[in-house]
């Protein structure tokens, strides 16, 4: 299929709205399954929040998302992403700088990690591998959940689907029930507790070192407007544990070329299967005819028809903005209005003239090819949260940083570097003149915290880019700027993601589907909602024939 022939078309089997990683994944799977697919993206570039840009000559930033660990092996291998440019180098360590030039350093090697942690507490060093094993058990449980639509897990949808599908889903549900029943009782109970407890309570039972507790629980707050002491935060921690790099749970990886290159790889796969990916094509509305979604109307007036339409946007956009009013049930719309998707994180990207020198490790070494997390204690993180709860950004925020140019020298000119900082907490509305007035003060607060641990930071900053929830919303189109399209709290998971009526990726509007991060299993560069939604659509299409 050449670009020329499709450009004059006005009818497809399926149209996907939004060119982020989930939209692209959905388009790739639909095309792979034999559909004629058109993807329409509002911006001039594909990728959504998986985006690499060069805002300053020679310095390339992974603008928003910065590491990969949730990308499903199914998506990698079924779409043959390695051939299309997927190139992920695992990070091997985590450094937690502490006040006074101290540190907590964890490496992939368990023996080395033991000695590093034992500097703080022998008991904790001993407990650490046991804790990791326990979390692996837990991750295996949720791992099973993330490859299946939640409605199917409970067999609800099975009755409505004919033939083989019903049998397969019935078996799957039975298999999962068996899986849970076979679990040792202690694990099952822990799992039940983890769905509701706080991350701090979880680690309190294992460890005595405050810095270690903070280090382990920062993943529980990423993208969520709560603290490690908030009930429900343990699940978010688990959500990240089920991420993997080559089978290693909790592994993180850096994509060569930044996360934008992940989107490019998925786009390459989609094109290889024949999908048509169109940019600068903002959708005005989903066309509804005879009670079915039958295409999209673009902002420029063009009407493109399709048997099926999938939206990878946030629930607010997918249900409130794109679908004409009166079409969707009021119940669903109420849920959408109550959807918690408050932005709470920002991003500070820096260009540096030299490698950062950490007070505890001034020389270059493997720690620079790992993650660095500034969250020296639970109270520190709690205070950062309190600032935000009070309506402002954290004066001393939690910062998760990586140095992409250490993995990929093409991200910066030789000898120079880029530093990517994920920052929490930053509210959607910081008050007092909004972000336009406070953006630089927020950037300064981040630099100030970093400078306490990076001795050469202040003299080495060449450029800085400060991004707030408002920018995430403006650039990536994510309502409220929540990186997961909605918090990963229990009330917004599984059957409730994004709403019971839409948890099978179908919506109450026939022919209209949702495939974004607000669908099960949730956010992060996973491709999982996109894949599961496309498989649902392909099955529906098969059933209709």
């Amino acid at each position: 299929m050449s670009a020329r022939t499709v450009s004059t078309r006005s009818r497809w089997d399926a149209i996907v709205i939004g060119g982020g990683h989930n939209g692209l994944t959905a388009a790739a799977y639909l095309a792979r399954g034999g559909c004629d697919v058109l993807l329409v993206e509002r911006r001039g570039v594909l990728g959504g929040a998986t985006l690499t840009e060069e805002p300053f000559p020679g310095f390339r930033y992974s603008v928003f998302s910065y590491l990969v660990n949730l990308l499903r092996p199914e998506v990698i291998h079924e779409l043959d992403l390695v051939r299309h440019g997927l190139h992920i180098q695992p990070t091997e360590s985590t450094l937690n700088p502490l006040p006074g030039g101290d540190e907590l350093y964890r490496e992939a090697d368990p023996g080395r990690s033991y000695h590093n942690i034992a500097r703080h507490s022998r008991r904790d060093a001993e407990a650490y591998p046991e804790f990791k094993l326990e979390m692996t058990h837990m991750a295996r449980l949720v791992h099973r959940l993330q490859d299946t639509a939640p409605a199917e897990l409970l067999g609800r949808e099975a009755a409505g689907v004919e033939g083989r599908g019903a049998v397969e889903q019935g078996e799957l549900a039975a298999d999962l029930v068996r899986h849970f029943l076979d679990l040792p009782r202690a694990q099952l109970l822990l799992f039940a507790r983890m769905m509701t407890m706080s991350a701090a309570d979880l680690v309190d039972r294992w460890f005595e070192t405050d810095a270690l507790k903070a280090a382990l629980t920062t993943s529980s707050i990423i993208g969520s407007f709560f603290s490690p002491r908030s009930p429900g935060s343990a699940y978010v921690m688990l959500h990240h544990y089920m991420g993997e790099v080559d089978g290693d749970y909790r592994g993180w990886g850096f994509q060569k070329g930044g996360t934008g290159a992940v989107a490019e790889a998925i786009a390459g796969a989609a094109r290889s299967f024949g999908a048509d990916l169109r940019t600068e094509a903002p959708v005005e509305q989903v066309i509804v005819e005879n009670g079915r979604a039958s295409g999209v109307a673009l902002a420029d007036g063009a009407e493109l028809r399709a048997d099926m339409v999938a939206s990878s946007c946030t629930p607010q956009v997918s249900f409130r903005r794109l679908v004409p009013s009166g079409v969707l049930p009021a119940d669903l719309l109420e849920r959408v209005d109550a959807w918690k998707s408050q932005g709470c994180s920002g991003k500070v990207n820096l260009s540096l003239s030299e490698l950062p020198r950490f007070a505890s490790r001034p020389e270059p070494g493997p720690h620079l090819a790992g993650g660095v997390s500034i969250a020296p204690g639970l109270d520190y993180v709690e205070q950062a949260f309190d600032d935000c709860r009070g309506g402002s950004f954290s004066r001393r925020p939690f910062v998760d940083l990586v140095i992409p140019s250490v993995f990929d020298r093409d991200m910066a000119p030789p000898g120079q570097h880029v530093l990517s900082c994920f920052v929490q907490y930053a509210p959607y509305d910081p008050g007092e003149g909004g972000w336009e007035a406070q953006r630089e003060a927020f950037g300064d607060a981040v630099i100030e915290v970093l400078a306490e641990h990076i001795v050469n930071l202040e003299g080495s900053i060449l450029h800085r880019q400060v991004l707030t929830p408002v920018d995430i919303e403006r650039i990536a189109g994510i309502t409220g700027g929540n990186i997961f399209h909605g918090e990963l709290s229990l009330a917004q998971l599984l059957l409730n993601r994004p709403a019971p009526e839409a948890s099978s990726y179908r919506t109450p509007l026939p022919g209209y589907y949702v495939c974004g991060s607000a669908s099960h299993p949730g956010g992060g560069i996973s491709g999982a909602p996109g894949r599961l939604c496309a498989l649902r659509m392909l099955a529906d299409r098969g059933g209709a024939r």
Binding site: P73, I76, H77, P90, E244, V245, D246, G247, P364, F407
Partner: protein, 535 residues
């Protein structure tokens, strides 16, 4: 270095400075962290000027070194040498060390070694090969390949001697070109493989894994040529990876010529005033060079490389990473993927070049009368029964198969960073063993298990499904493995040269990879097949 307070008590008068120096060394040896002057002085109850004076003397002698920014003290390279000498004198039999050993010690943190031809070489520098592997694929890495056997063949009939030995036709090998070749015994069975570089019309250098001087001398009877072992005189570094060209151009004279150096080309240059020969060769399947350096000037060249390389992400790379890289590149290793004919107890373990996957190095051109040619010609003529019994192929186990088999045991596929497996693993077809995987590893880049295998020719067709035996946890399992073409990874940069400066690349160098055997088209076909992995 052991602590000995008793030495202090018994020390005679007038040796106070020596005692203090000794205590400073012991203090430095007592921890893993670099120490500041004030901290050291306080620990030993010395004034700062005194401590500084003694440390300066020790530093001048190499027993103490300072951290790169100069503020902190640590033990110096001489300390390690003395330690080593002490071990030697104690009567232990120690491996040889290469001319880069002191530099290697400065980088190594794992202290895991493998002996290679009797030389002590780092298996990994850090706790796993991960970063070293990625450095070569994404930036640049340096591998100490000094343990290679290096022979110079000189004299009016040097070319004739090599022509008689190697399967390649070296008649047209010009100065500045390198030819990869195989050599065989009379029965046409492979003895070894290696590189021949033409230094001048009457001067060649042959590099290979095993010593081969005797074989060359024996084959050269009656020819006016001499074979000289230069193994110890020449130190060698492999500089490999996409940034290797930029690093080398920065530090050597004649950057333009280096930029134009084609695949399997050679040239003489100078690095930091040291005369170095550069060949565009390597064992990683990536853009790369090998540097042939006078052994007594080895360290300055290493230092120059790292000075320029730091900003490009250059890392020293150990043998584990090298193994992963060369498996991805589909490059066979002697003693691992094939057995040298003269060292094989079993006749069936010997291979002809075709069987070892090196058939493309055999040139049956008129006048290329090499040892073993008649036997190889007979084998090729026989084909269809009686011909080559074995074929060298790639096998791959896709991710989902790894997941399925591990999952059946309640496990996830693997933890990354596992060392390559060099122990043969049986390959079966319908329950009958038809071959073996001789090297295998999980490819970090391709995200599947890959292996180099010898299989019966009847089972060697690309796409054939075989069963690969393995032990997972404690259980014997079989994976479904698929026969694929080698190499697994073949970036264009490996053999491409920046345009407009392609002089000299049209000769045998372009042939060196054996485009006749594994052409681009074939590789694309192979890739096309891997796309169907899960259908």
């Amino acid at each position: 270095m052991t602590r000995s307070k008793s030495a202090e008590k018994k020390a005679p008068e007038g040796t106070q400075a020596i005692q203090r120096a000794l205590h400073l060394l012991e203090e430095l040896a007592s921890g893993v962290r670099d120490r500041g002057l004030g901290d050291l002085a306080a620990a030993l109850d010395l004034t700062k000027p005194t401590a500084h004076r003694i440390l300066a003397a020790l530093e001048a002698g190499g027993l103490v070194a300072r951290s790169p920014e100069g503020a902190l003290y640590r033990l110096g390279p001489r300390a390690g040498e003395i330690d080593r000498a002490a071990l030697r004198q104690r009567g232990g039999s120690l491996a040889e060390t290469t001319p880069f050993h002191r530099r290697i010690l400065e980088h190594v943190t794992s202290f895991s070694w493998r002996e290679w031809s009797g030389y002590q070489c780092p298996l990994t520098y850090g706790h796993s090969y991960g970063r070293e592997y990625w450095a070569v694929r994404d930036a640049a890495g340096v591998i100490d390949v000094s343990p290679l056997d290096k022979l110079e063949v000189r004299g009016p009939q040097a070319r004739a001697l090599l022509q008689r030995v190697t399967t390649r036709d070296l008649a047209k090998l010009r100065p500045g070109r390198v030819a990869y070749s195989t050599w065989c015994d009379d029965a046409g069975k492979v003895l070894q493989d290696g590189n021949v570089v033409c230094l001048a019309d009457d001067r060649f250098r042959l590099t290979a894994a095993h010593p081969t001087l005797r074989w060359l001398e024996d084959c050269g009877l009656g020819l006016d040529a001499e074979v000289v072992d230069v193994s110890r005189e020449i130190a060698a570094l492999a500089l490999q990876g996409p940034r290797s060209r930029a690093i080398l151009q920065e530090i050597s004279s004649g950057a333009d010529a280096l930029g134009a150096l084609g695949y399997f080309g050679a040239l003489a240059t100078s690095i930091d005033g040291v005369a170095v020969e550069v060949t565009r060769t390597g064992f990683t399947g990536d853009l790369g060079y090998e540097l042939w350096i006078p052994a007594d000037a080895a360290e300055p060249v290493w230092d120059a490389l790292f000075r320029a390389g730091a900003k490009h992400g250059l890392l020293p790379v150990g043998l584990d990473a090298l193994d992963v890289l060369r498996i991805e590149a589909g490059l066979v290793l002697i003693d691992v993927d094939y057995v040298a004919a003269h060292q094989s107890l079993l006749e069936r373990r010997k291979s002809t070049p075709d069987e070892a996957g090196l058939g493309w190095t055999v040139k049956l051109t008129p006048g290329n009368e090499f040892v073993g040619r008649p036997a190889i010609e007979r084998e090729r003529a026989a084909a269809n029964g009686g011909g080559a019994a074995w074929a060298l192929v790639g096998v791959e186990v896709p991710w989902f198969e790894l997941e399925r088999v591990h999952g059946s045991l309640g496990l996830r596929p693997l933890s990354p960073g596992q060392s390559p497996v060099r122990k043969p693993a049986p390959l079966l077809q319908a329950g009958r063993q038809v071959g073996q995987v001789t090297s295998q590893v999980f490819s970090p880049l391709l995200k599947k298990q890959i292996g180099i295998a010898s299989v019966e020719v009847g089972s060697a067709e690309v796409g054939t499904l075989l069963e690969l035996e393995a032990v997972v946890d404690t259980r014997r399992v079989t994976f479904v493995a698929r026969v694929v073409r080698l190499p697994f990874y073949d970036p264009e940069r490996k053999r491409s040269t920046p345009p407009a400066e392609t002089i000299g690349t049209e000769t045998i160098g372009t042939e060196a990879i054996g485009t006749d055997a594994i052409g681009t088209e074939a590789i694309e076909r192979a890739h096309g097949r891997s796309a169907e992995t899960r259908s």
